[in-house]
C-alpha cells in the first residue's frame, strides 16, 4: 500500500495536473465564471450597449420589474406567465408519456433498437428544423393538419398558430413530440438498472402489474425521476425557438416566453442592464423550484 502511494506521488510533478487543467480552465473562466459574475455587474447599471455612459443604478433594474408603472413591468410578467403556462402544461406530459414509452420498450423483442431510434429521431433535429416544419404543417389555411382534419369531418379551420388556447396546444404538443425520446431514453437506462430479482421477488409475492410498478419500478427509478423532473423544468423554462418560429409570440405577444423577451430586450433593443436583471430573477425562481423538487423527492424517501 505504501509502495503504491509512493509511485502515485512520484509519477508526476506538482505542476503537471494544473497544466492538464489549464486549457479547459481558460475557456471555463472566460465563458462561464466571468459572465456569471459580469451579468450581475451589468444588472446593477443602466447598461445600454449603444450609449457611451453606463451609470450605476443599484437595484433599480430589479425594482422596475416589480413596479407596475415601469415600462417593462407588463411585458416582463406577460412573458413570465407565458413561460409558466408552457412549463405547467408540458412538464407533466414530458414526465409521463416518455415513461409509458420506456416501459413499452423495456421488453425483449426483435427490432427494439430500431424502434427506440425512431422515437428518438425528432430530437436529433434542431429546434429550427422542427419549428419551420410544424409552422408549415399547422398553417391554419394551408397546412396538412387542418386539411386532414377537414377531410375526416372534423373542424378544418383550427387557428393552431394564431389564437389561444390553440397556440399553447401547438407549442406543448410539438415540444412533446420533439423531446419525448430524450426523456424516454433516460428512463429506459434507469429501468435497465433495476435488478431483475426485485421483479421476481414481487412476482413470488403475488404482486400484480400495478403493484409491481408502484413498489418496484417507481422506487427503482427515483434518482432518474429526480433528474428528469428537474431537467425538464429547466428545459421548459428555457423555451425559445418554438415560440420564435411557430407562433412568433402570437396572438399579440401572449406566447412570447421569458427568454424571448429577455433576448429581445438585451440583444435586440440592447437594454442589457434590464435584461440581465430579468435573467437573474428568473434564475432565482428556477432555483427555488428546483430546491422544492429536491425536497419533495427527499420527503418521499422518508
Amino acid at each position: 500500500m505504501a509502495a503504491e502511494t509512493a509511485t502515485r506521488v512520484r509519477r508526476h510533478g506538482p505542476l503537471t495536473p494544473y497544466l492538464f487543467l489549464l486549457p479547459y480552465a481558460v475557456v471555463f473562466a472566460t465563458f462561464v465564471i466571468a459572465p456569471a459574475a459580469y451579468g450581475i455587474w451589468i444588472s446593477l447599471h443602466d447598461w445600454d450597449y449603444l450609449l457611451p455612459g453606463k451609470p450605476f443604478v443599484g437595484l433599480d433594474n430589479y425594482s422596475a420589474l416589480f413596479d407596475s408603472n415601469s415600462a417593462v413591468y407588463s411585458f416582463f410578467w406577460e412573458s413570465m406567465s407565458a413561460t409558466g403556462i408552457f412549463t405547467v402544461l408540458s412538464v407533466p406530459l414530458l414526465l409521463t408519456v416518455p415513461l409509458a414509452l420506456a416501459l413499452l420498450l423495456n421488453r425483449r423483442f426483435r427490432g427494439r433498437t430500431l424502434f427506440r431510434a425512431i422515437y428518438f429521431a425528432p430530437y436529433v433535429l434542431g429546434v429550427a428544423v422542427i419549428g419551420v416544419l410544424w409552422r408549415f404543417l399547422l398553417d391554419p389555411n394551408l397546412g396538412v393538419v387542418n386539411a386532414i382534419l377537414g377531410a375526416v369531418g372534423l373542424p378544418g379551420d383550427t387557428p393552431w398558430t394564431t389564437a389561444l388556447p390553440w397556440g399553447w396546444v401547438t407549442l406543448v404538443g410539438v415540444t412533446v413530440w420533439w423531446t419525448l425520446g430524450f426523456n424516454a431514453v433516460i428512463y429506459l437506462a434507469g429501468l435497465q438498472d433495476i435488478p431483475r430479482e426485485l421483479y421476481e421477488a414481487a412476482r413470488i409475492d403475488g404482486a400484480g402489474r400495478w403493484a409491481e410498478f408502484r413498489h418496484v419500478t417507481l422506487p427503482g427509478l427515483r434518482p432518474v425521476l429526480l433528474f428528469v423532473t428537474v431537467n425538464t423544468i429547466l428545459v421548459s423554462a428555457n423555451m425559445f425557438g418554438q415560440s420564435y418560429l411557430i407562433t412568433q409570440g402570437a396572438p399579440g405577444t401572449e406566447t412570447r416566453t421569458a427568454i424571448m423577451y429577455i433576448a429581445q430586450t438585451g440583444l435586440a433593443d440592447f437594454k442589457m442592464g434590464s435584461a440581465a436583471a430579468m435573467s437573474y430573477l428568473l434564475t432565482a425562481g428556477l432555483l427555488v423550484i428546483s430546491l422544492l423538487v429536491f425536497r419533495l423527492f427527499r420527503e418521499k424517501d422518508a
Binding site: 492538464f20 429526480l226 435586440a268
Partner: protein, 274 residues
C-alpha cells in the same frame, strides 16, 4: 412479452413510429413539390410534378446562401467537437487520475455550473465575445460552447472506470503523465471520445438562440438562424423552406443512423448525473 400477440404488439409500435416519421417524410416530399402543389387542398402525398425548383430558388438567391450556411455549420460543429475533446479530456484526466490540491473544489465548481441556466450567460457572453472581436464570426460559435461542464464530467466518469493496471505498467516503464494520457488512456477511451464528439457536434449543429443573436451577416450564418431567415423571406413558399430544413436535417439524421449507439449512450449517461 409472451402474453401479447406479436401482431398487436408490432401494430402499436409501427403506429407510434408513424407519428414520429410522417412529419419528416412530409418535409422531404414537400421540398420536391411546386409552391402551388405544396399547399393544395386536398393535399397530394407524392409530388405530381416532382421538381428541384425549390433548391434552384434557394441556391439562386444571394441573400440566402444556403451552401455557405451549410459550410459554416460544418466548420462550427466540427471545430467545437475537436476543441471540446481536447480541453475536456485533459481536464477530465487530471480530475480522474492526478493528485493535486484543490481537486475536489475545482470539480465541485465545474459540476455546479451544470445548474446555471444557459440564458443567464447569453447577455454577458455577448459582451465578452464582442470584446474579443468575435461577434459575427464563427469563433463565437466554436469557443464559448466548449466551456460546458458536460464533457469534463462525462469523460472523468469514463476515465475512473478504466482499470489502473495499464497506467501503472506504463509508470514502471518510465512514462510521464502526458505519455500515459496520450498513449494509454486516450486509446482506451475511443468509445467515450466518439460519444462526446457526436453529442458536441449535434448540440452545436442545432444551436439556435446564440447564433441568432451573435451573427448578423447572412454570409456568416449557420443553418438554424438561416432557416429563420428563410421563413421570413419565403413566408408561404413552403417547398423552399422545407428544402432548407432538409439541408439542415440530412447530415444529423445520417450521423444519427451511423452513430445511433453513441448518441443514445451519451444521452442515457447524462441522466445518471442526477
Amino acid at each position: 412479452m409472451s402474453r401479447v400477440k406479436p401482431v398487436a404488439w408490432y401494430t402499436v409500435l409501427i403506429g407510434l413510429s408513424l407519428i414520429f416519421i410522417a412529419p419528416l417524410v412530409w418535409m422531404l416530399l414537400t421540398a420536391f413539390k411546386t409552391p402551388g402543389e405544396a399547399t393544395r387542398v386536398p393535399p397530394t402525398v407524392f409530388p405530381q410534378e416532382p421538381t428541384a425548383g425549390a433548391f434552384d430558388t434557394l441556391l439562386g438567391n444571394s441573400q440566402t446562401p444556403v451552401l455557405r450556411w451549410f459550410l459554416n455549420s460544418v466548420l462550427a460543429a466540427t471545430g467545437q467537437a475537436i476543441l471540446v475533446l481536447a480541453v475536456a479530456s485533459m481536464a477530465a484526466y487530471a480530475l480522474a487520475r492526478l493528485e493535486f490540491r484543490g481537486k475536489r473544489v475545482i470539480f465541485a465548481m465545474i459540476i455546479g455550473t451544470l445548474f446555471i441556466p444557459g440564458f443567464v450567460l447569453i447577455i454577458p457572453n455577448f459582451l465578452i465575445v464582442d470584446r474579443f472581436g468575435m461577434l459575427d464570426t464563427l469563433w463565437a460559435l466554436i469557443i464559448p460552447g466548449a466551456a460546458g461542464a458536460f464533457g469534463v464530467f462525462f469523460l472523468r466518469q469514463f476515465f475512473l472506470s478504466l482499470p489502473r493496471e495499464l497506467e501503472e505498467a506504463a509508470v514502471l516503464e518510465g512514462a510521464n503523465a502526458w505519455q500515459i494520457f496520450t498513449r494509454v488512456v486516450l486509446p482506451l477511451s475511443k468509445p467515450a471520445l466518439a460519444t462526446l464528439a457526436v453529442i458536441s457536434f449535434l448540440t452545436n449543429w442545432n444551436d439556435f438562440i446564440w447564433p441568432v443573436y451573435v451573427l448578423f451577416s447572412p454570409s456568416q450564418f449557420t443553418l438554424p438562424p438561416g432557416l429563420a431567415i428563410l421563413q421570413g423571406a419565403y413566408t408561404i413558399n413552403y417547398p423552399v423552406i422545407m428544402a432548407g430544413a432538409l439541408v439542415a436535417s440530412i447530415p444529423v439524421l445520417i450521423l444519427f443512423m451511423v452513430a445511433q449507439r453513441y448518441v443514445i449512450e451519451g444521452v442515457s449517461r447524462s441522466g445518471l448525473k442526477g
